[in-house]
């Protein structure tokens, strides 16, 4: 039991570090990192960096070389992630395309389509989004209503998607639709990719409780999609979707925001009821809980990396990580605000101010407990897929989709 690389892993790590050292700037401290002044600016910088990665052979590590990837092993991806986190490099914007759309295209697109679309995805020249969730298809992901009708070899799509990250700057999107409302829920779906500049597509930002807008609603009005852009057979859309759904739940992962370290350091400098907060046993008690949770998640991750390193399939760490870290974040955020007593309510946009970090966590945790699978859905998944417990009773089982009760919301 050790934390050391195998010789192969050590070589890979060295190679990655050296390339990064020659092409990027090391972070100066744990709080240092890349930030863009605006979304446009960030997008520009990400594209430049991605091109550099691609030219250096470090783009899309898990992709085949023929499409611009490196054919790395899972453990190499982990090592790359560890090394890259030491540097101030641009990030974001491309993950959904490269992580979800890319694999689906590789599996279901024609050779010509792969040659056309995958290389610009790997270089960052073209950006992709994922058009899955709908107002009535959240936890119940297969409850998709967006209608696709075939006439000749052209499909006409009408409906609405929600929670689409990056729809407003994406060039293409992968899309699930309902092509047969009279078939059972999981049977009548059909999967496409679509040009986001197609006539009839309208993108509207969704304002979140924090006031930010990281997601969009996407409206489809008589959008035409050639049948050649269908991925998988007609009616097989659910099967195609499954390729990406688990990836999405994995992707949400760990919470960003204040964690044990921040709460600990706050408590060491903060007065509470006449003494330092760290001397308050109730604070120590909570800190100990959070440390144990954080430590448990960290070492669960190490166990998973070890499994990858041995070529084994990793465990259900990501569901656990999301449940535990989202709830921990909500507790820590409230703790931090409470520590500041009546002043905890004050908003400050000062860089690094205590309040703003905890206030960010206050909003973010509420979203994180929902995004990419609610606490409740993830506990269903753990109990069913990990522990092998039976599904709940299904009211929609075997019913034609258009006869499934839908209520009023």
């Amino acid at each position: 039991m050790d934390f050391n690389d195998t010789p192969e892993e050590a070589n890979f790590r060295k190679e990655a570090f050296e390339w990064l050292r020659d092409n990027a700037e090391l972070k100066e401290g744990p709080k240092d990192g890349w930030r863009a002044a605006s979304e446009e600016e960030g997008l520009k910088q990400v594209k430049v960096w991605q091109k550099k990665l691609h030219d250096g052979g470090w783009a899309c590590l898990h992709w085949p070389k023929m499409f611009g990837g490196r054919e790395s092993t899972p453990i190499e991806r982990v090592i790359w992630g560890q090394e890259v986190s030491k540097f101030k490099v641009p990030g974001g914007y491309l993950e959904i395309g490269q992580g979800m759309a890319g694999p689906v295209m590789m599996m279901y697109a024609t050779e010509e389509q792969k040659e056309r679309y995958l290389p610009p995805m790997s270089t960052g020249e073209e950006i992709w989004c994922q058009l899955f969730s709908e107002p009535a298809a959240g936890s119940d992901v297969a409850g998709i209503k967006t209608k696709a009708e075939l006439d000749g070899d052209t499909w006409t799509v009408n409906g609405q998607k929600v929670w689409t990250s990056g729809a407003h700057f994406s060039d293409y999107g992968i899309l699930v639709t309902r092509s047969d409302p009279s078939a059972p829920k999981h049977k009548g779906l059909t999967f496409f990719f679509v040009d986001m500049k197609s006539p009839g597509i309208e993108v509207k930002p969704i304002k979140q409780i924090s006031g930010g807008a990281n997601f969009n609603e996407v409206y489809f009005t008589d959008v035409k999609i050639p049948d050649s852009q269908r991925l998988g057979a007609v009616g097989d859309g659910w099967k195609v979707s499954l390729t990406t759904l688990m990836n999405e739940r994995l992707a949400v992962g760990d919470a960003s925001g204040p964690d044990f370290q921040e709460a600990f350091s706050l408590a060491r400098g903060q007065d509470l009821n006449g003494k330092l907060a760290i001397e308050n046993d109730a604070v120590r008690d909570k800190l100990a809980d959070w440390y144990c949770q954080q430590s448990g998640l960290k070492f669960a991750k190490y166990r998973n990396i070890s499994a990858l390193s041995r070529g084994e399939t990793p465990g259900p760490q990501s569901s656990i990580t999301k449940i535990v870290s989202a709830n921990k974040l909500q507790e820590i955020a409230n703790f931090g605000l409470d520590m500041l007593d009546s002043a905890g309510i004050l908003r400050t946009d000062e860089e690094g101010a205590e309040q703003s970090m905890y206030q960010y966590g206050f909003y973010g945790s509420a979203g994180l407990r929902i995004a990419g699978g609610t606490d409740e859905i993830l506990k269903n998944i753990i109990s069913e897929q990990v522990l092998g417990m039976p599904q709940d009773m299904r009211a929609d089982k075997g019913l034609p989709f258009n006869e499934i009760p839908t209520g009023n919301k």
Binding site: W163, Q208, I209, L337, D341, I345, I404
Partner: protein
Amino acid sequence: MNFEFSADQMQLKDIARKFLEKEESVKRARNVLEGEASYDEDLWSKIIEMGFTATSIPEEYGGLGLGYLELCVIAEELGRSLAPTPFSSSVYLASEAVINFGDDSTKQVYLPALAAGEKIGAFAHTESNTSPTESNIECSFSDGSLSGTKIAVVDGDIAGFYIVTAKNDSSVGLYLVDASSDGVSITAQPTLDPSRSHAAITFSQAKATELKSDWSDVLNLLDRAAVLFSFEQLGGAEACMDMAKEYAMGRYAFGRSIASFQAIKHKLADMFIAVELARSNCYYGAWALSTDAPELPTAAATCRVSASQAYHECSKENIQTHGGMGFTWEFDCHLYYRRCRQLAANIGSQAIWKDKLISSLERANQI
């Protein structure tokens, strides 16, 4: 045993509820949150017309001379409807300070104006990122004037006068300062809950009136206010529970109402339990406040802790029950999530009130 509000009080509650519903108080809270105004002046003037600000001010000073039980039921409805007005600052804190610690001439000047809504008062207590105590308060009073800075003063930018905690030679007590006095400077402070305004106030040799009070009176003022704030929190908590239930009943997934899933049902049952415990403790607080019982410190801390917990639980799990929609600006869930924090911060954090509760039980040496 008659541990319940009277029929008249329940009728007043019903009137308050219907009035605030009709006035679309929640929508007004959203407007204040999204707009530039510090509060909803129109709603405030209607609340004054209803006589709510005069409720517990003695008749001899232009009030209605009703008891605190009447004020409790109004507070619950204001909390339920997120009313974006300076009611809590002006009524639970400023009016109470003047009623309990002002001399007759101060009462003559301020109480009729408070009752009639001509003056808004605010409570200026916090000075830093930690709970104010008898020993850490820096604002000071001497020779009739007051100096120092207070932050996070709720309604500080709209108040006509402040009740300020400050030290003189020997102890910390309450002082009254007019906002229009020389030496008072006011800076609005943005917060997590922009439906309620906050400000930093700096006093530079500002003329101040001494209220006959020491630190124990400051604590007493906070205890009295805590009961009323608890009713606001209770109303907010119950509103969240009702919203969550209503949404769950109508939202279908997997072919059935999500209200039929045990995960949601048990979540709602937990909210209901929290609300019922908080309500019962709030009644205890109301009884203690209205009878000036020696148990007030215990009762106030108990209902404050219990109602804060219930609101916290209900406001966050209301978002969770709504799923993605609960995380949108468009839905009202976040208005309650924010207000829950605002009310939790307003008169000091949970850690302080829990400690006060146990301290009061230690003093009582009994339960």
